[in-house]
Symmetry: C2
Subunit: 286 residues, 2 copies
């Protein structure tokens, strides 16, 4: 039987019948079905398919050790967030996308350290606890944070301007499950627009901005890891994040404070910004 | 409303509502729907999605000026062939995939020239006509041909071994619509297996082979261009082409011949192989 519009999907699915890994076979069976259904529905011209291939090629070729354009593509199509949502634990802090900027290891720092290595902008204090689902504090939990600076750039985007590791830190909670670190208020920012995804957003009339946020990955013994953000209340673009990552429960007040005692205790100068929140991890089921 | 499994597809489709080009908007609307349906059905783990992103990144990064790994991916998923089939003209020679090896321009040659620049293998004569759908011969039609050598390699795969342009030629039919050129019998061959697509085929228990064929792109005034192959009858893998490109109507006998007069007239030594076939173009509808 010749390959044609009606036999195509079955022919390709059959080609995967000897895939040793049953999960891989399941994924490819479904991928073939959905991909062929898409193509069969929109009936791309030869030229359109060539353009699609060129676009995907350019996305891949834009990736480097410090830039992940395919994650960006997954992000702007809402797929990263969908995958994150499908894997969400039910009784903890809500998760959100990893994003493309966790490409370098965060430098290990002590509680209270500053992740801002420049010191020119208003200081910001971030404090809180890591808790288990039942409210028990989790000591020695790993708190991996990364954020852009007050102008909206991550260190890896400005290698000559920001020192490596600026805006990044790997902390461990104290015996009461507390974390605290100093930083600057992150800015809203555009995702990188100088590559294929920038051209894609331009062609679709979409803006490239993300509301201001700090990234977190949390790990604690016996608990599922959590990848999330804390968003800065009042930031522009909270209602139109280019990567669909905002959840209402993740928006936190970064209040302006003149509290001299807190400032002195944490080594910041008043006035400063202060965000205080707990992050809750789900027990691992296994 | 928060982004969740049920609101995700609509949220992403809404983000494309201001796309100026209506066809692009239609394509992205359908892409979002099918892509999210795939992800929602298979519910990939975070790790699985990271692996998918890494794979696509590697596919893009493998592409160079002389290698197109994303075309290969589209080929082995049967999508290239599906797109070709959906665009097929109804009253001409059947079309098949372009493939990843038409990356360099074919050198212009005169009718009767050899596209084999090495001359070590048994000669092969290819002759025929380019006709319109009603059987009218098409003079001055462009016949762009490319093929691998008798060992299964294209020139661009062996830059130090084969001269550039070996196995390639751009011909124009004579006043009776005839074409003729000399070559060697192409071999069946594996698609490139030293990259991500090779690993993909390995992981899925699929062989990488394509049956022996010569590629053609045909162009003539007033007619739709045709991209196709002529397959060598009796070649291995005619029933399991790694890229699903075989159609029964495209299989042609490359007969062994001792015809001294034909040999002398065409500048080959007997015994030689000879394939004779017509290629039929559809009138352009516009």
């Amino acid at each position: 039987m010749d390959f044609n519009e009606h036999t195509a999907t079955r022919a390709v699915q059959d080609s995967f019948r000897d895939t040793p890994d049953p999960r891989l076979r399941e994924l490819l069976d479904a991928l073939t079905r959905h991909l062929h259904a898409f193509v069969g529905e929109v009936r791309p011209s030869i030229r359109e398919w060539e353009q699609a291939i060129s676009f995907l090629t350019a996305v891949g070729q834009t990736c480097t050790d410090t830039r992940q354009e395919f994650v960006l593509l997954s992000d702007v199509l809402g797929v990263s967030m969908l995958v994150e949502t499908l894997n969400e634990q039910q009784d903890g802090t809500e998760s959100t996308v990893l994003g493309p900027f966790h490409m370098v290891e965060s430098p290990r720092r002590e509680l209270g350290d500053s992740i801002d290595l420049i010191g020119e902008a208003q200081p910001c204090l971030v404090t809180g606890r890591v808790l288990s689902g039942d409210g028990t504090p989790l000591p020695d939990a790993e708190v991996d944070v990364w954020q852009c600076n007050e102008k909206g750039f991550y260190d890896v985007q400005q290698p000559g301007v920001q020192p490596s590791g600026n805006g990044r830190g790997l902390f461990h909670t104290d015996p009461e499950g507390r974390f605290r670190f100093r930083t600057v208020l992150p800015s809203h920012y555009p995702i990188p627009t100088d590559g294929p995804i920038g051209r894609f957003l331009e062609a679709t009339g979409r803006h490239p901005y993300r509301p201001a946020h700090i990234h977190f990955i949390l790990r604690a013994d016996g608990h599922a890891p959590l990848t999330t953000h804390v968003f800065v209340a009042g930031s522009p673009y909270l209602d139109s994040d280019a990567v669909f990552a905002v959840k209402q429960s993740l928006i936190v007040d970064f209040t302006e404070s003149n509290d001299a005692e807190t400032a002195a205790r944490n080594g910041v100068q008043a006035p400063f910004r202060h965000a205080e929140f707990d992050l809750i991890l789900s027990r691992e089921l296994r």
